[in-house]
């Protein structure tokens, strides 16, 4: 078991959200979409230049930038 930032996860890795750090409009949006503690999440793929990344949770595919993904701490 280890905790990693979502931005450092590789495609195909799965884990559980441990914490979502910070605040502001972007974080509010992530929270609203359901990225809260305890949710299972899977990294799907990285875009051609390594950023943004796409993730899957509860059947939703979501694209976000590494800058946003680094707020999410994942328990692998």
């Amino acid at each position: 078991m280890s905790v990693t930032k979502l931005s450092h996860c590789k495609p195909g890795q799965t884990g559980v959200i441990k914490n979502i750090a910070g605040d502001g409009p972007v974080i509010q949006r992530l929270l609203e979409l359901g990225l809260i503690e305890g949710k299972a999440i899977r990294v799907l793929r990285h875009a051609p230049f390594g950023d943004p990344i796409s993730i899957e949770f509860e059947g939703m595919h979501l694209a976000l930038r590494a800058a946003e993904a680094q707020h999410l701490e994942i328990l692998l």
């Binding site: 793929r45 943004p52 509860e58 694209a63 930038r65």
Partner: protein, 734 residues
Amino acid sequence: MTSQSVPTLPAKVALIGNPNTGKTTLFNALTGLSQKTGNYPGVTVDKKVGSMDQNIELIDLPGTYSLAGRSPDEVISIQVLLGQIAEQKPDLIVVVTDACQFKRSCFLVTQLMELEQPLLVAVNMMDLAEKAKVQIDVDGLKKVLGVEVVPVIAKQSSSLDSLKDCVKDALKKKVPAKVHWTWPEAFEKEGVKLAKALSIPLPLARRALIDEGLPTEQLIATQCGDKAIEQTRAARETIKAAGLSPARVEAELRHNWIETNIGPVITQGERGPSFTDKVDGILLHKFFGTVIFFSLMTFVFMAIFDWAGPLMDLIDGGVGSLGELAGSGLQAAGLGGGPLESLVCQGIIAGVGGVLVFLPQILLLFLFLAILEDCGYMARAAFLMDRLLRFAGLSGHAFVPLMSSFACAVPGLMATRTISNRSERFATIFVAPLMSCSARIPVYTLMIAAFVPGDKVFGLFSLQALVFTAMYLIGIVVAIPISLAVKKFSGFSTESSFLMELPTYKTPSAKTVFLRVYQAGKAFLTRAGTVIFVASVIIWALSYFPRSQEIHDSHEVMRTEVQAKKSGEELETALKKIDSLEQGTYLRESYLGQLGQFIEPAVKPAGWDWSVGIAVLASFPAREVVISVFGIVYDLGEDLDTEEDDDSKALTNKLKAAKWPDGRPVFNLPVALSILVFFALCMQCAATVATVKQETNSWSWAMLSFFGLTFVAYIAAILSYQIGMAVGLGDLVQ
């Protein structure tokens, strides 16, 4: 007063839901062509309404995951739902949810329940849920939520009928939704206090507390005065001091309630890799995905240019015949030859018609965009392009607007509404006109064919094709610093982000695609009938008046001379020539011509003479006007085309033969380049300026954008000419 004396107003039903839940498809299915787009009183947010039945009006609110007010559209939504907009208070709220992702949709549902108004939950895409092995216990759901729930399969007409019945039923019963959860005391106390102090509804007070740094704050300020912001902030601080973060309080309260109460009524079977997963494996592949993306974009543009051609010719021909018909009609009525005929034929029909020609391209572009959007590919394109757009300070959200602008900036500007970051939206609006639109093609073609040598570079590419491509690239290159500058100096928050749902792939709905194309066409025609109409009339008047008797008399003398000497066909050609000559003289002496000569010193550094100057001025309503102006100035008559016909060659030759008073040729390669560069960068398009005004709701932005880009184009034109002359391109003779 009895209720009988008042005619019954149609019941109002607000339709709201997450993006990608098929809300628009449902709205289209329920209302069809009865849809109308208007404005909410006092603001320029589009209001889409349609009638479902004689007595039921459906209001389509923008797709959203939450009632948090992020954009002007979303702020309006909450105002409509709370009944704060005069005469817009809905009698019933219908929330469209996605059966496959029901728990996520429930976040918005819980927000709506707090409004304590009649609510109906439509669970859409029940068929897809079944395929994804999701089972929803509808009766269980009704019990937990305490509101009416109706399963829907948008494709099935029987399913739509049952939805309609449920709407009517709910309108009769009008049972308000109830709240089944409690907010943490420290938060709720402040919410209640704030609601009382500002006399606003409690749900709005809660939003004010949660939506820190979002437009909700401005809404509160407009409604309750500037002091309200301070009061809200103070209340927020009290909550934070109690160890709570408002946004987290909301997210955890709702998601936890949903997990405990909605979780049990939904069963999720084993999830294998879906169709979408497999397709994305290819379409979002680092290598193949990129190749497919660029091939697809190339195909779309080729198709727009190739397929629209015949239709454009048809319209062009139609406009021409209409002009002739109107001309002969007026002559038959004894009104020919005067200003009226000229106004109708050269002013209105030629001016508006020249713009109408682009209708097929716009319809085709919207057809492709609507298909790509509705099947789910556009979100992928944005995902692939986000990194590249970051160089210009933009994000993947700007992709669709910018791509559309290559065909026409007007739909491109309208597409910027989906960008929630304000500084990014304004930057995109500012640079969208720099993407070479289809109206520039005639100008590029004429100048390149006339003045760029047909040599091959490295024996491979023709120099002409390279210059053509360079015109597209120069717009993109110049857009980067301009976009960065607008972002920097716009004064809006500059935090950029990219957060986008990649929806499940689906077959595009024919009705949705058709309606998008139909509405785009209607909007374009409306603009052609208003802004472009007025601009055409003004430009015509400036180029027509004053008509001095002297010019007429001197040409009349020439006509009499010719009539005495020549006969038959020869006479006809000679008379035509005199007519053209007369037209040219009139134009030179017109207000527009005088203006051209007045501004000549200003345009001389770019290598232009007065004729190019007025061509540029006259082409303000639409860039392609420049060609007809050259035609008039160089005494060719006005009916010119850039196709490889005799007229075009004649115009090319006339341009080449044009001389300054000292005998030097007016046009050479550097002059052609400076004209090309100017038109690549300038904002000579009344429709675009009007759309910028509409989208930014500000004349200052529209004017800044017009004068700013025109200034950039002017400087770039001077540089092109001066550098071209300095490196000796001026001496190249073709």
